[in-house]
Amino acid sequence: MGVTEELLAAQAEGLAAIEQAADLAALAAVRVAYLGKKGTLTAVLRGLGGLSAEERPAVGKVANEVRAALEAALAKRHEALSSAALEARLASEAVDVTLPGRAHPIGSRHLISRITAQVVEIFLGLGYRVAEGPEVELDYYNFTALNTPPDHPARSLADTFYVRDLSGDEAAVSGESDVLLRTQTSPVQVRTMEREKPPIYVLSPGRVYRRDIADPSHLPQFTQIEGLVVDEGITFADLKGTLDHFVHRMFGPDRKTRFRPHFFPFTEPSAEVDVSCGICDGAGCRFCKNSGWLEILGCGMVDPNVFGHVGIDSERYTGFAFGMGVERIAALKYNVPDLRMLVEGDMRFLRQF
């Protein structure tokens, strides 16, 4: 057998061995067996020295072709085997993707502060600022400056929490003290009007207190958000537009509002605002007690007497004020059946929101 034939036989053998190599280790062994220092091809090439100068180029060419063919086959087989090996490894690493993830639990925001923040955001967008004030207030700011008559039942010990006054002042009202837990956030508005000149656009969210026994629909402590605008040219139409906007942002663009005249000591004219029931869309259902409407806000034009108390010229400026109970909105939006859940700190309740 001539050298050329030997080369071609080695090629055929080699290609077969490559094809049969089952894994990367076997393939490496085939490479060594044919192309290694002691490999078949190397041995054949070593024999080239014995050939004549005329034969050598032709045989050399064949030898190179054989080497190239083996190299190519090795490379191809190597790629095939490595990707198979990778696939096998990846297959072995597959997980059940439906198993729960590994997350550090994130805390939730209390329903009341979540709603408060939503309301604040809506009014920030209308150019309001947020004003705050003390929760323990003076009778003057909570009642008198808000045009509440001296004998108004809301001032009674049955309705309002009074606090022991250590100043030694003679209490002018309600028997023992004129220091109380604010029953509304309106005192913040009075303080704002005392401190600042119009234009005033403020929102005052905060805790308020009334002597109600805690039951599914009452808490002695709850959250109110009031708004106040004092500027030139403010009209009842502006109040309507503002609250319409609020209701649409808060409850959805399809909800309707309804303004019913009402009476509050610190606004005139005053109104209660209803939003159309989201469950029956105004047709009447159990949730809205068949009226189609849910009461959510009280509002009105600031009474000139209130401006008088804080030294704002009621001829030049007009204004409006509105107030809402956050717990009520929570009950309406989330159907919370018992307000006491809001103060129990039950993790199973809090984590829902």
Binding site: G107, V130, L166, G168, K240, T242, H262, R348
Partner: protein, 805 residues
């Protein structure tokens, strides 16, 4: 205020269905709380005649009655009412009837006796409030006739909520006027003039008012020779429709006229009032003298306060002015001559009396809200005429009318420009005038403004703005086109403190804490229970009228409320609790009026962050979980120098108690709550807690941390394990490392604390990972080596430790 539609339609031509009227009233400021249909659902209720009444053999309070309902068979009906006798006629609901409350009547055994129906009260039939006993019908009521047919039921009753500014609507005539204005139709004012005869009223009585502020008017009439008896059906019905219990013809007339015209009236039995030798009664209106008492109509002896306004005869008090009459002078079956009072009293005085005695009557409720004093005599005339009509008798000529403080008519100017300026709507002068006239105002037109005379029955209309409100109300709020305020430039934004508070909440939640809200009230025993005593000079804020002794003060710390929540959860099997609250705490001191308030942030952690998971065990929470939360918070608020320093605090477990400091200032505390404290709150240890002063956090927070370029050159990392006494803190060692490391040491990080094998008792090994690096070049091995050797030497010397081999 209950408004019977059938009564209302006598006074004003309503012309729309009751539901629609209710809607119109709702939208013009008179809230309709409910609409009741009476009669409609009274199928199966008939007039019955009680023939016998015997005690139930098994129950003291029940009666067994035999009732004739006109169908030829007598029925046995068991009944719990006490106000009836055999022979009375009553409404009877037969089996199958469904009463307005939804109650379905069935044949049923009551304590062993079969009852074949129910004898009914007015309230059960939805036609009155009276529930004290059966509704006793007049003797002439026809047995067996459907009750609704006889009663003339099929009426609709509107329950109106009358706001305190509208006393005029506490009468049918006032409601009719309001309805007339709302619907744009005229309303009638009922009036009568009595036929007078006999001796002058002035001969029988005189009136003296000691204080015209407390009693601006007192008018009286005398009616002689009345025959007190049950009222005729029309009168009893009207009184019942308004929600009162028919009593007798004289009293019913006074109530009727009160409901009709809004003027409370009182009838005295003239013969029971003390008279002088000429038979003349001297009525005096004055406040009580010390020690005076009065037995009121309800049989209760009342101690009178010195500010209680009284109606007196020469012997003493005979009525609480405007609130309730006295028992000894009340009209009874034996009354022959009547003194009829129509007066007006100071609202505040009546309100005080009513409140101090806990006595609210239809009269006091009206006087509290102001009664129109100009109407006293008209009401008196009407009542006198009606008494004469239903009870016979002669009305004495003349009215004894003491009227020391006549009401002056109020004249207001209403500028049309102001109407536009406040409401944002354009109304013509004619339209505005028309609305005000429909409400009873006299209006004089001017070019720019209207001159308006306010009717006496509208004490609430005192200013121009009050007129504007009336115009808007009647014109219709719904018709106002909404706009948004124009105004000059304004920017809505949160203050720095407000937005930082938002951020603090964000961090708490990112750390896994859930926001909660607890009561601001506290138990006065909390400081003791928590071992958190008040600081020197600080006092708790005490409520004068708490809801309970457990809520008698305002909280000084958020901790007690949060511990109660931990306990609440644990008792319900929720062991992993992560809560935070941001809220006010309160304290005061001697001489302070308003207490101090401070916003605090507090958190409690108990159990583990999560229950055991397939890929993560549940790790019990401890001190360092709380500290981690605070570390994150300080990082996020960019407060640089957080320090946590061991301290003694009664509420915390010794050795797991720390103060939180920044820049030398104590911001609050952190630790594991003392087991003894937890026991008092029924909570299980361990509970990690912290409480920080939010204002201080806000003050120390930086807007941003300074930029530091990320390192470009590689670091050399070396570990250092050093064995020190237990008493040496990690902070001390770390400080020693930092000071010894100089400029070459970029980072240190404690990664292990080890006690046990190879480390002597009483000592611990602290292992730190050190990173040597300078910003501008790569350090050589030699530089690092010599720096590290120097560091080891210095640190071991300064903290008294040895290198762990």
């Amino acid at each position: 205020m209950r408004v019977s539609m059938s009564w209302l339609t006598e006074l004003v031509d309503v012309g729309v269905p009751a539901r629609e009227l209710a809607e119109r009233l709702d939208m013009t400021g008179t809230a309709v709380e409910a609409v009741h249909e009476t009669g409609e659902s009274l199928d199966g209720v008939v007039v019955g005649h009680i023939l016998t009444r015997e005690r139930h053999p098994e129950a003291d309070k029940l009666w067994v009655t035999t009732v004739d309902v006109g169908d030829g068979t007598l029925r046995t009906i068991v009944c719990g009412a006490q106000n009836f006798d055999a022979g009375d006629k009553v409404p009877v609901a037969l089996p199958g009837a469904v009463l307005p409350g939804g109650l379905e009547i069935k044949k049923a055994k009551l304590r062993g006796v079969v009852s074949e129906g129910m004898n009914c009260s007015a309230r059960e039939l939805g036609i009155g409030e009276d529930h004290e006993g059966l509704m006793i019908l007049p003797p002439d009521a026809p047995v067996g006739v459907p009750f609704a047919e006889w009663y003339g039921a099929g009426d609709t009753v509107l329950e109106l909520e009358i706001t305190p500014n509208r006393p005029d609507c506490l009468s049918m005539a006032g409601v009719a006027r309001e309805v007339g204005a709302v619907l744009g139709v005229p309303a009638k004012v009922p009036a009568s003039q009595p036929v007078e005869s006999g001796e002058e009223a002035a001969a029988a009585c005189s009136v003296t008012i000691t204080d015209a502020d407390l009693c601006p008017r007192y008018a009286a009439r005398i009616i002689r020779g009345v025959k007190v008896a049950p009222s005729p059906a029309w009168l009893a019905d009207k009184v019942a429709a308004a929600g009162a219990r028919p009593i007798n013809n004289v009293v019913d007339v006074t109530n009727y006229v009160m409901f009709e015209l809004g003027q409370p009236l009182h009838a005295f039995d003239l013969d029971k009032l003390a008279a002088d030798s000429n038979g003349r009664v001297a009525i005096t209106v004055r406040t009580a003298r010390s020690g005076e008492t009065l037995r009121t109509l309800d049989g209760v002896d009342r101690q009178l306060r010195s500010d209680t306004l009284l109606i007196c005869d020469s012997s003493g008090p005979v009525a609480l002015a405007g609130v309730m009459g006295g028992e000894s002078t009340e009209v009874s079956e034996t009354t022959v001559d009547v003194l009829l009072e129509s007066a007006c009293f100071d609202p505040a005085s009546i309100s005080r009396t009513s409140r101090s005695l806990g006595l609210v009557s239809e009269a006091s409720m009206r006087f509290e809200r102001t009664v129109d004093r100009t109407g006293c005599v008209a009401a008196l005339d009407r009542a006198a005429a009606l008494i004469a009509e239903v009870a016979g008798g002669q009305v004495a000529p003349g009215v004894v009318d003491e009227y020391p403080a006549p009401l002056q008519p109020r004249l207001l100017t209403l500028r049309l420009a102001r109407v536009r300026g406040v409401l944002g709507i354009d109304l013509g002068a004619e339209e505005v005038a028309g609305i005000l006239r429909s409400l009873g105002c006299d209006v004089e037109m001017g070019p720019e403004s209207l001159q308006v005379t306010v009717p006496s029955f509208r004490p609430d209309i005192e200013r121009e703005i009050d007129l504007i409100e009336e115009v808007l109300r009647i014109w219709g709020m719904e018709r106002v086109e909404p706009t948004l305020p124009g105004g000059r430039g304004r920017i809505g934004m949160l203050t720095r403190e407000q937005s930082l508070r938002e951020r603090i909440g964000d961090v708490m939640r990112a750390c896994g804490l859930n926001e909660t809200m607890t009561y601001a009230f506290g138990d006065p025993r909390d400081p003791e229970r928590c071992c958190m005593p008040f600081a020197e000079g600080e006092l708790p804020v005490e409520l004068l009228n708490p809801m309970s002794t457990e809520q008698a003060v305002l909280r000084r710390s958020l901790l007690p409320g949060l511990l109660a929540s931990v306990s609440y959860n644990q008792r319900r099997g929720v062991s992993d609790v992560h809560l935070y609250e941001m809220g006010s705490v309160f304290w005061t001191s001697e001489g302070r009026k308003q207490p101090k308030e401070r916003t605090m942030l507090a958190g409690v952690l108990a159990g583990a962050w999560h229950p055991p998971a397939w890929n993560a065990p549940a790790v019990p929470l401890d001190f360092f979980d709380g500290k981690g939360v605070i570390e994150n918070l300080f990082r996020e608020l960019a407060i640089p120098k957080l320090r946590v320093r061991a301290c003694d605090a009664g509420h915390l477990q010794p050795g797991r108690a720390a103060e939180v400091l920044a820049g030398g200032e104590v911001l609050g505390w952190l630790g594991e709550v003392h087991p003894a404290v937890l026991e008092r709150f029924e909570a299980h240890a361990p509970v990690v807690a912290f409480e920080l002063d939010v204002r201080a956090l806000v003050r120390l927070a930086a807007d941003a941390r300074p930029f530091v370029e990320p390192p470009r050159h590689p670091a050399v990392e070396l570990d250092l394990a050093i064995v020190v006494d237990e008493s040496v803190t990690a902070e001390e060692v770390e400080r020693a490392i930092r000071s010894a490391g100089g400029k070459l040491l970029a980072e240190t990080h404690l990664f292990d604390v080890y006690r046990g094998n190879g480390v002597e008792m009483g000592k611990k090994s602290l292992a730190f990972a050190l990173e040597y690096r300078v910003p501008d070049r790569t350090l050589t091995a030699q530089e690092v080596e010599s720096a590290h050797e120097r560091l080891v030497r210095k640190v071991t010397t300064s903290v008294g430790g040895t290198l762990r081999s």
